[in-house]
């Protein structure tokens, strides 16, 4: 099974295989035999080169379902990284190209309640202009326009409760002269 690791600005190509009961990890082409054992839920003991380290592993939600987010904790600190199936990277790149089109969708980053809707469909907004206020976790979060745009669609009403990642507002990019792109 192949995975691409991304941590901070580093990328590594990995592979893991089970062969006759032995697990082998390949790290950028270098083969490393692994002795790994699940001690309890979310907690592993790993022996590498006769040295054993305990790791607490946590899967973290990532908005992109193909990017598997992890947070591992050892005695020396936290490591946050993503693993991705390299086959899916090609697909993701194609997706990204289509996403870079003229529409952008503002989604709820946290579950919460729409407290105030500040724009109406058809309205032109400036970069950084507040679009709506979402109350989540006892806080009022303001969502602003990422770029100058026109409000194409509003998917929510004031007072409704939203799930995480619920679509809220669709923006349409503007040409330099302020007219919507064809």
């Amino acid at each position: 099974m192949k995975r691409t690791l991304v941590i901070a600005d580093e990328t590594h190509e990995l592979e893991i295989r089970r062969r006759r009961g032995i697990t082998v990890m390949t790290w950028d082409g270098e083969e490393i035999p692994l002795d790994i054992c699940k001690v309890e839920r979310a907690s592993y003991s790993i022996i590498l080169n006769d040295l054993s380290v305990g790791v607490n592993l946590d899967r973290i939600r990532n908005p992109d379902p193909d990017l598997h987010g992890f947070r591992g904790t050892t005695y020396d600190g936290v490591y946050e990284f993503t693993l991705q199936d390299p086959r899916k990277i090609l697909l993701a790149e194609a997706m990204a190209r289509s996403k870079r089109s003229e529409c952008s969708l503002i989604r709820a980053l946290m579950p919460g309640k729409v407290l105030k809707l500040l724009v109406a469909p058809g309205e032109a907004v400036e970069e950084g202009q507040p679009l709506l206020i979402l109350e989540a976790m006892k806080m009022q979060n303001e969502y602003t326009a990422p770029t100058a745009a026109r409000v194409a669609q509003v998917h929510v009403e004031e007072g409704v409760n939203l799930e995480i990642h619920a679509p809220m507002i669709t923006l349409e990019a503007l040409e330099a002269d302020g007219t919507p792109k064809p």
């Binding site: 995975r3 907690s43 598997h68 490591y79 946050e80 006892k138």
Partner: protein, 499 residues
């Protein structure tokens, strides 16, 4: 006033902490809980518990009528508000006292006075305590902008009836102020039903000190030294220590004396905190008074050896303070970190979810006030405080080292949390030197961290987890997206069995 059975009108870590003291002195406890808190730690620790309504706090924890009804049902004759929720709501205090129930906190009149930040400023001035220059008059926006220009920026805009850092905003220019005014007013109405705001001169990187005081019904008031709560995000403390590092004994005495004078001036009964800001030149200014037990009370308990909840109960029972000022010691140094479910790398955005893994720290002179357990599902409706870890040492260095070691032991999975962030804070040079100020977290210096030496171990675990998941998926029978075996599969089974 009797306190023979105590209802705790709060949840989470503070409710658990109050119950522990009650158990110690044989006072039965009653927990109240909202729908999503049925399995919460505080409910499991209480002797009796009463459901009081749906999850949103306005429909449960903030419903005074339901609390009074719960008291009647269980025979509780006293209410402890903890902090937050109803703790500083004079209206709630009046209703509860009218129902003949003892309130573990100051009187409604004191709360009325201290809730109004302008009245509190005037009171501090009247006992000779300096306050920051500000604009207190209710003015229209244009006049306010005029006055602000005379006063000079930067300024803090605050709601008059505000607390817990809600709605506060720092403004650096007239434009900032113009934009901030409607927002602060909006938030003030939303949280406190009042749109009055006032301006206060903002100090650049002040230190934030608070003096713990206690007063009884006989008019005695003592202080239990100060705490430093300078490490803040969103105007809320996340790390506090006592005594404040690098403060001269003279300044300590002055602050404590001023705090006692302010508490005496209002006839304060109960425990509370007088808060001060300290500028770079060692000048201090009264900020406000917090009329409840505070989140940082554990560090005061460490250095004085007292149990402040026990003090609250005895004060409410009408007993004199257990100690005189001379009898209150100051031993060593204590520090506390508030473990929140939040992400320091993403602007401290709160997180919620199920706690998948929990290993709490243990050890010598270490205390963990926790309100969660393994498997507990954290609700996004309440403050994301999970636990408060505090340590004591002979001196600051020892306390900090002990805390660092406790945090290395603390493992928490399933929700994003700030355990690793606190470890980096305790390694931060400015923090270690005691160079504390409220701007210490303004720049996200903790984000620039190197990848540690154990990357391969961690990645190996993750890779193994992925492999096992893949293998499990491969073993599962093929199902269509609706989760039922597809008709095609059924057909082949039927064909095979000649049905």
């Amino acid at each position: 006033m009797p306190v023979t059975k105590l209802l705790i009108a709060n949840r989470g870590e503070i409710a658990c902490r109050i119950m522990r003291t009650c158990r110690e002195i044989d006072i039965p406890t009653v927990a109240v809980y909202s729908d999503s808190d049925r399995g919460s730690m505080h409910v499991r620790l209480a002797i009796e518990s009463v459901p009081i309504g749906p999850t949103p706090a306005r429909e449960s924890y903030l419903r005074v009528d339901k609390l009074i009804e719960a008291c009647r049902k269980t025979g509780a004759d006293a209410v402890h508000p903890g902090y937050g929720f109803l703790a500083e709501d004079p209206g709630a205090v009046r209703k509860i006292q009218e129902a003949g129930i003892t309130w573990l906190g100051p009187s409604a009149d004191v709360l009325d006075l201290m809730d109004n930040k302008i009245a509190a400023r005037d009171l501090a001035r009247s006992v000779g305590c300096p306050v920051l220059p500000g604009i207190q008059e209710t003015l229209n926006d244009e006049d306010l902008l005029d006055e602000a220009r005379k006063l000079g920026y930067p300024l803090m805009v605050k709601p008059v009836l505000g607390r817990d850092g809600k709605g506060m905003r720092l403004v650096k220019t007239a434009g900032d102020l113009r934009r901030a005014l409607p927002r602060v007013k909006g938030e003030a109405i939303f949280s406190f039903w009042d749109e009055r705001v006032y301006l206060e001169k903002a100090l650049i990187h002040p230190r934030y000190l608070e003096v713990q005081i206690a007063g009884d019904v006989f008019g005695n008031v003592v202080h239990l030294w100060e705490r430093d709560g300078s490490v803040q995000r969103r105007f809320q403390q996340i790390c506090e220590e006592a005594p404040a590092p690098g403060i001269s004994p003279e300044l300590r005495q002055t602050l404590c004396r001023q705090a006692v004078a302010i508490a005496k001036a209002v006839g304060y009964v109960g425990i509370g905190t007088v808060e001060f800001l300290l500028d770079g030149e060692g000048n201090y200014y009264f900020l406000e008074m917090t009329c409840r037990i505070q989140g940082g009370h554990a560090v005061t308990e460490w250095i004085t050896g007292q149990d402040l909840v026990k003090w609250q109960i005895e004060i409410a029972q009408g007993k004199p303070l257990p100690l005189t000022q001379e009898q209150i010691p100051l031993w060593g140094h204590a520090i506390q970190c508030r473990i929140n479910a939040e992400d320091p790398d993403r602007d401290f955005a709160p997180s919620s979810g199920k706690i998948q893994y929990l290993r709490s720290p243990q050890g010598h002179n270490m205390r963990n006030d926790s309100g969660v357990y393994f498997g507990w599902e954290l609700s996004p409706f309440y403050a994301p405080l999970l636990a408060k870890v505090s340590t004591w040492g002979q001196n600051r260095t020892e306390a900090v080292q002990r805390m660092h070691s406790a945090l290395m032991e603390f493992r928490l999975g399933g929700v994003r949390n700030n355990v690793a962030f606190f470890r980096l804070l305790l390694e931060h040079k400015a923090f270690l030197q005691g160079d504390l100020h409220t701007g210490i977290l303004d720049h996200a210096w903790w984000k620039k961290r190197k990848i540690g030496p154990n990357l391969k171990f961690v990645v190996a675990a993750a890779l193994f987890d992925e492999l096992e998941m893949e293998e499990r998926r491969a073993q599962q029978p093929r199902v269509n997206p609706e989760g039922e075996a597809s008709p095609a599969a059924w057909k082949s089974v039927a064909k095979f069995n000649r049905i």
